[in-house]
């Protein structure tokens, strides 16, 4: 000890005492950790706000107000000849059904003994403009019911729906020509009588979009079909093309300037704004190849272009992660290059490829911008497609496009539906990503 101090004069220090230098270092580390935790906290807060917002604004769309009435399907109005000929029944337009509905609600109100200054027409104003069409559809489907009195559940108009959900309040209806305070009095009475009630709204999930005047009838189901057909196109094209391209590039292609250029450009493609793919799709698929506008086939083709780089990049990464010793082993026992790839490398890379594909699909599912340009935004598809050909070729919308469309419209009832649509879209995306994560976990490489 004494020799040491002679040779190198250094102040003796205790391990139990921190030097200034150590203190500063520890403080810096603590600060850095705090920054990290802060960053994560901000992220989580944003997420919480987002989820709260979406859920609180969107859940309303899953509930809808209905008015249950006993409707007397008068033969004298609906089938004057009395022979139940469907062609004759179809001649009665929705206008022909309006008086029947009016009678039904008036009968209900008087039957319940509710006192109201309203005329029958104003009472019928509580029903959706879709009500007559709803009833006509029912009669055309069940002509044998003509002459009977049937219990029928009509959509309430959006103001009534809004009143029950708290969106429409009495203080604000002074200038609203769609609803009056007398009508709201009647609504209160009918709610009490159990005639007006909110139930779960399957039509929102399964139905078609509706025009501006009937937000209560609008659903996301048909555009969901549009999205489904687009995803089928993307899966059928992007997966085989992407995997084939990646296998060739990763396993077979010679290393030269050409493959380098291809590689760089694939990465570049992944970063191209999606609207550019939309313009490309408009120019090539619609203007040059004359494929139908607004068709999910075209949408799918455009989204395929967009998804390909994602799939190629993730497939190449998972091929790369298969250790070369596996390839050596296969080649060493005399497998050809292709056998080595298809018997050994590809099965091991499959979970990674699948994960990448699902994430690519999820990305494509939520994409709106390219659909703007090929006419899939703003189109109102009123009927679900019949069969695969029609699903691919007849004009349709897509879920994100539908949400965008609803968010644009003025009526707050549509706004609620936009949020509801976001919930459905998010459920799809979260499900897909969860499946991807589970696949990755389940088949995680172990060697």
């Amino acid at each position: 000890m004494s020799e040491n101090t002679q040779n190198t004069p250094r102040p003796s220090s205790s391990l139990l005492e921190l030097t200034d230098r150590t203190k500063r270092r520890n403080a810096a580390e603590k600060r850095f950790r705090a920054y990290g935790i802060g960053a994560i906290a901000i992220g989580l807060l944003m997420l919480a706000v987002l989820v709260f917002n979406i859920v609180s604004k969107g859940t309303g769309a899953f509930q809808q107000t209905f008015i249950t009435l006993d409707v007397e399907l008068l033969e004298s109005k609906l089938d004057k000849k009395g022979n139940r000929d469907l062609a004759d029944i179809k001649k009665v337009t929705t206008f022909g059904y309006s008086p029947i509905i009016r009678n039904a609600i008036e009968a209900k109100v008087t039957g319940l003994g509710i006192d109201t200054p309203l005329k029958a027409k104003a009472m019928a104003g509580l029903l959706s403009k879709d009500a007559a069409a709803q009833l006509r559809e029912f009669v055309v489907a069940n002509p044998e019911k003509i002459g009977d009195t049937v219990e029928f559940r009509f959509l309430a108009q959006s103001r009534v729906d809004g009143y029950l959900k708290g969106r429409v309040i009495r203080a604000n209806i002074a200038n609203d020509k769609n609803i009056s305070s007398e009508q709201l009095d009647l609504v209160d009475a009918l709610v009490e009588a159990g005639v007006i009630a909110k139930t779960f709204n399957w039509d929102f999930i399964l139905g078609a979009d509706a025009s501006d005047a009937r937000p209560e009838a609008a659903g996301i189901g048909v555009s969901m079909m549009g999205s489904l057909f687009m995803m089928l196109v993307v899966l059928a094209l992007a997966l085989p093309i992407g995997v084939a391209a990646s296998i060739y590039l990763e396993e077979f292609a010679p290393q030269n300037w050409l493959t380098d250029i291809i590689e760089v450009n694939i990465s570049n493609l992944a970063a191209v704004p999606s609207i550019v793919f939309g313009i490309l799709g408009l120019a090539v698929f619609i203007n040059y190849m004359h494929l139908p506008t607004s068709a999910p086939l075209v949408g799918g083709l455009v989204l395929t272009l967009m998804t390909l780089p994602t799939i190629i990049i993730s497939t190449r990464a998972s091929l790369k992660s298969v250790p070369p010793s596996i390839r050596d082993a296969a080649l060493g026992v005399g497998a050809s290059k292709m056998q080595a790839v298809f018997h050994h490398v590809l099965p091991l890379a499959a979970p990674g490829i699948l994960t990448g594909t699902i994430i690519g699909l999820a990305q494509a599912l939520g994409e709106t911008a390219p659909l703007l340009l090929i006419g899939m935004v703003g189109f109102i598809a009123s009927n679900p497609p019949q069969g695969i050909a029609e699903g691919l070729l007849s004009p349709n919308s897509a879920m994100p496009a539908q949400i965008f469309e609803w968010a644009k419209r003025a009526d707050p009832a549509f706004y609620e539906r936009a949020w509801g649509g976001i919930i459905i879209l998010l459920i799809f995306l979260v499900t897909m990503n969860t499946v991807a994560v589970i696949l990755r976990r389940r088949f995680e490489r172990r060697w």
Partner: protein
């Protein structure tokens, strides 16, 4: 005396299996193997020794054209297997590799069952007509790999679940399943513990009765234990090639002596 003559006779009968003449290997600009001439005999264990980066593994991989998978690798000169040039344009490396099997440094069983690991080679080469024949080949190969007794009850379990030494013997069984004539081993024991190493070395000695075995090793003791012929590589040159006993006791080249006595490498 009689014994000696008998042994001499067997030595004479052992014909050349692989003959390399003037082999040069370039990796792009780097000159990895410089004018190597060597004759590898049948039914003999030949060891390649030398310091790291001397080219012994590279040369080994030339013998079954595993270097073909590396784009920038260029092989010139002649390598003859039974008198046929393996780098001839008409030679398909797939057929060559069925004849010249390979065992790698790190045990690399396929992440499949033990059975499928061994059966893969015979399957792709169509060596078995039916399941019974394939079963037979698998059992025979696992016996030759000296691992049959340990795995016969769990052939359907993954090969990756075995211990390191077992995995390496499984890989040897996999390599012999395709009925090769030459077995190339690239440091087959470097990832194994001493007990597993001893088992594999014993196996190599048994394999000598059927195959020509070429083994690359870092361990000079191992070369001395298992091989009959030894080649010493240094900086891409084949410095010395001869009977193992002579290389280790009475080397001709001073570089060999320095390496063996531990002064270089």
């Amino acid at each position: 005396m009689n014994d000696m003559t008998a042994m001499d006779k067997t030595m004479e009968q052992q014909k050349t299996k692989i003959a390399a003449k003037g082999v040069d290997v370039h990796y792009g600009e780097a000159h990895a193997i410089k004018d190597v001439n060597v004759e590898i005999e049948d039914k003999t264990v030949t060891a390649f020794i030398g310091p790291s980066g001397c080219g012994k593994s590279t040369f080994l991989r030339c013998l079954n054209r595993m270097n073909d998978t590396i784009d920038i690798c260029k092989v010139t000169g002649d390598i003859l297997l039974d008198g046929e040039d393996i780098y001839d344009k008409r030679v398909d490396p797939v057929q060559l590799r069925a004849k010249v099997g390979m065992v790698f440094q790190k045990p690399n069983p396929f992440p499949k069952s033990i059975y499928d690991n061994v059966a893969y080679g015979p399957r792709i080469h169509g060596l078995a007509k039916n399941k019974a024949e394939l079963d037979e080949i698998v059992e025979k190969s696992l016996r030759r790999g000296a691992i049959w007794d340990e795995v016969k009850d769990r052939l359907d379990k993954p090969g990756t679940g075995l211990s390191g030494g077992q995995q390496q013997r499984l890989c040897i069984a996999r390599a012999v399943a395709t009925e090769p004539e030459v077995l190339l081993m690239d440091e087959p024991c470097s990832a194994l513990d001493p007990i597993a190493t001893a088992q594999v070395e014993e196996l190599i000695d048994e394999l000598r009765s059927r195959y020509s075995v070429v083994i690359v090793t870092h361990s000079m003791q191992q070369a001395a234990r298992v091989s009959q012929k030894t080649a010493f590589f240094h900086l891409g040159n084949l410095v010395e090639f001869g009977p193992t006993g002579q290389i280790f006791t009475n080397p001709e080249d001073p570089r060999t002596e320095s390496y063996i006595t531990g002064r270089i490498g």
